[in-house]
């Protein structure tokens, strides 16, 4: 019962929001015409020295503000419209030639201008329908009975014409209710129609979409290559200063022991003990290094097992809950593992959490990883280099990270990685935590 009430409330609220948005649409439609006029004037003044080159980009900025507003309004109805514009040229001041060229060579500029008039007509028309129908319904619910009650009568309403008696007035009530409900029901649909119309003009063309994608890929590729290079440098340094140096000294010590073995067996024996210790330390270092490159347990057990093993080694109890029917490709698996591992490390370092949880799910071609803790909250990706690192790691595979960390907790990090899972390998039923 409560569910029905709640649903009805949500439905009515959505209708009212759409009606208000339609009302805003009517107002906004009127801004399109001056914008078009200003743009036309600016384009006409292009030959004027100094002024011409500056005016066009400036009016384009205004038009783009208006178009962006429409894109946001469309996206709110669930019709996603992304910005299609070329990136602005660097170090090109107002009135400079590159800036002018940037404004006029972008096809999105002309598509914006082309949208101004039809967009105004469609926005105004749909907005009017959106607003008028529910208002007429409200009139039936309130005005008609009111006039009857005042004894003046009324021309008519809906299917009842010339309202003279109380019964006529009461007949308006159900009609008004139906019309009002129909108006609320139709409003969200009308908003969507408006949004689809805006998308025709304001969404990126196929070429623009590809260009945006290339830009994004260029950035993530540079990030990835940079991270890779840094990683390789770190490994090289660790090997060079650690294991390699140790093996050199090991060779020396063994050589020395070999020299002494006949003359001074006691000293040789001591040296060999030292050599064994040294080889042990070299192995410890190598193990650390290997764990940093690709944890062996990840190779052996896949993402779920590796996260479980990691959780066992942390000082805070972590609930691990995995539902992965197979394994992603090795590079993706590795990125996913380090993203979760870094989230957990961050959590232990900063949030003073007493408990945490990790959940790993794969559905509709997306691997979703959720890391939560009951700590102090207030984590901010802008300040934490760790979080930026995680974002970069995931971005290389088109993955995303969302952070919710209100002050006082709980912190929830949700990471998504689009990937396919390969054929499942029979996993041992592991002991649950």
């Amino acid at each position: 019962m409560r569910g029905t009430g709640e649903r009805l409330g949500r439905w009515a609220w959505r209708g009212v929001r759409s009606v208000l948005s339609g009302m805003a649409g009517i107002g906004l439609a009127f801004t399109n015409i001056p914008l078009l006029a200003v743009s036309a004037v600016a384009l006409a003044l292009t030959p004027v020295p100094f002024l011409g080159l500056a005016l066009v980009p400036w009016t384009m900025t205004l038009v783009r503000k208006r178009a962006d507003l429409e894109r946001r309004r469309a996206s709110r109805t669930g019709v996603l419209v992304t910005r299609p514009y070329h990136p602005a040229p660097e170090r090109a001041g107002a009135g400079s030639w590159p800036r002018f060229r940037w404004a006029v060579t972008d096809p999105a500029t002309w598509r914006d201008l082309a949208w101004l008039v039809p967009g105004a007509v469609v926005g105004f028309t749909l907005g009017t329908i959106c607003v008028v129908v529910p208002l007429y319904g409200l009139a039936g619910l309130t005005l008609a009975p009111l006039w009857v009650w005042l004894g003046t009568g009324w021309y008519g309403y809906g299917a009842t014409w010339s309202i003279d008696t109380l019964s006529d007035g009461l007949l308006c009530l159900p009609q008004g209710a139906v019309i009002f409900a129909a108006g609320l029901w139709a409003a969200p649909w009308l908003r969507r129609v408006d949004a689809y119309f805006a998308r025709l003009f304001l969404a990126p063309t196929r070429a623009a979409e590809l260009r945006l994608r290339v830009t994004q890929l260029t950035v993530t590729r540079a990030d990835t290559m940079g991270a890779q290079a840094a990683e390789l440098r770190r490994i090289e340094r660790d090997l060079h200063d650690g294991v390699q140096a140790r093996l050199v000294s090991l060779g020396m010590v063994i050589g020395l022991a070999d020299e002494l073995i006949d003359r001074n067996p006691k000293a040789a024996h001591d040296l060999l003990a030292e050599a064994r210790e040294s080889s042990g330390l070299a192995l410890v270092e190598l193990r650390h290094l290997v764990r940093g490159i690709h944890p062996p347990v990840l190779a052996e057990r896949g993402l779920g097992g590796a996260i479980r093993a990691l959780a066992l080694s942390l000082p805070v109890p972590i609930m691990v809950d995995t539902d992965l029917p197979g394994r992603p490709d090795a590079p993706v698996e590795s990125a996913a593992y380090f993203a979760v591992a870094e989230s957990l490390t961050n959590m232990i370092r900063h949030s003073r959490a007493r408990a945490g949880s990790v959940s790993l799910r794969h559905a509709d071609g997306v691997l979703t990883m959720v890391v939560t803790d009951d700590g102090a909250g207030g984590a901010d990706p802008a300040t934490g280099t760790g979080l930026r690192g995680i974002e970069r790691r995931l971005a290389a595979f088109d993955g995303t990270m969302a952070l919710s960390s209100p002050s006082g907790g709980p912190t929830v990090i949700t990471m998504e990685l689009p990937c396919a899972l390969s054929s499942p390998r029979t996993m041992p039923s592991s002991v649950t935590d």
């Binding site: 042990g280 062996p296 093993a309 592991s430 002991v431």
Partner: protein
């Protein structure tokens, strides 16, 4: 004592075989891959098996899986796992297979020949040999251990590795009586039933650390 070895690196397989033979073990089979391991264990019924966790063809945890399977086929078969890295997760899975000696050591421990052979013998005798690395990882994450004194923590670590009272006493240069006093204190503080059976006690401690 009859031993089966499973290790894919020829050098290490050879080294292990020679080392164990030098200490009068009888190496009845030395296999280099996962699928051959279980048949070898069933055919030879060794008194102890020394197995590498990572084996071909999958190079994942084939050895561990085979070991767990072998323990269900032949309950009580003593198994000592060797690996380049230790994971408390694997230790937990090994320990959850019912009774019989269990060991889990880093491969580097083989270089300390005396201790390694001692561990093989202990496992063959139904005891436990857990790598200090596993134990320290488990100890690192348990809060109640704050109740223990530094000495008690040391004794608990040695005990968890599977050492007897006598061995702990020798290693820490204290009397056996002092060791058993420490152990009683530890068991009391951690709320565990007192027990004189070394191995049962070790398993209790590991179960506690694994909880």
């Amino acid at each position: 004592m009859r031993v089966v070895i499973a290790e894919d690196h020829a050098l290490l397989r050879d080294g292990l075989t020679r080392l164990l033979q030098a200490f009068d073990f009888d190496v009845v089979a030395a296999v280099d891959n996962g699928p051959a391991l279980l048949p070898a264990l069933i055919t030879h019924k060794p008194q102890v098996a020394v197995i590498d966790v990572r084996l071909p063809p999958t190079f994942t945890d084939e050895g561990l899986q085979a070991a767990i399977e072998a323990r269900t086929e032949m309950p009580g078969l003593p198994i000592l796992m060797l690996s380049q890295h230790v994971e408390p997760l694997y230790a937990r899975e090994l320990l959850s297979t019912p009774h019989g000696g269990v060991g889990y050591l880093l491969k580097d421990r083989v270089s300390n020949v005396g201790e390694f052979v001692d561990a093989v013998r202990r496992v063959a005798g139904g005891g436990t040999a857990m790598d200090p690395e596993v134990i320290s990882q488990l100890l690192a994450r348990r809060e109640p251990l704050a109740l223990l004194t530094a000495r008690e923590r040391q004794v608990l670590g040695e005990m968890a590795e599977g050492r007897s009272n006598a061995a702990i006493a020798a290693k820490l240069h204290i009397t056996e009586k002092a060791v058993s006093k420490h152990i009683n204190n530890i068991l009391t503080k951690l709320d565990m039933p007192p027990s004189d059976d070394d191995n049962r006690r070790v398993l209790a401690v590991l179960a506690y650390l694994n909880a």
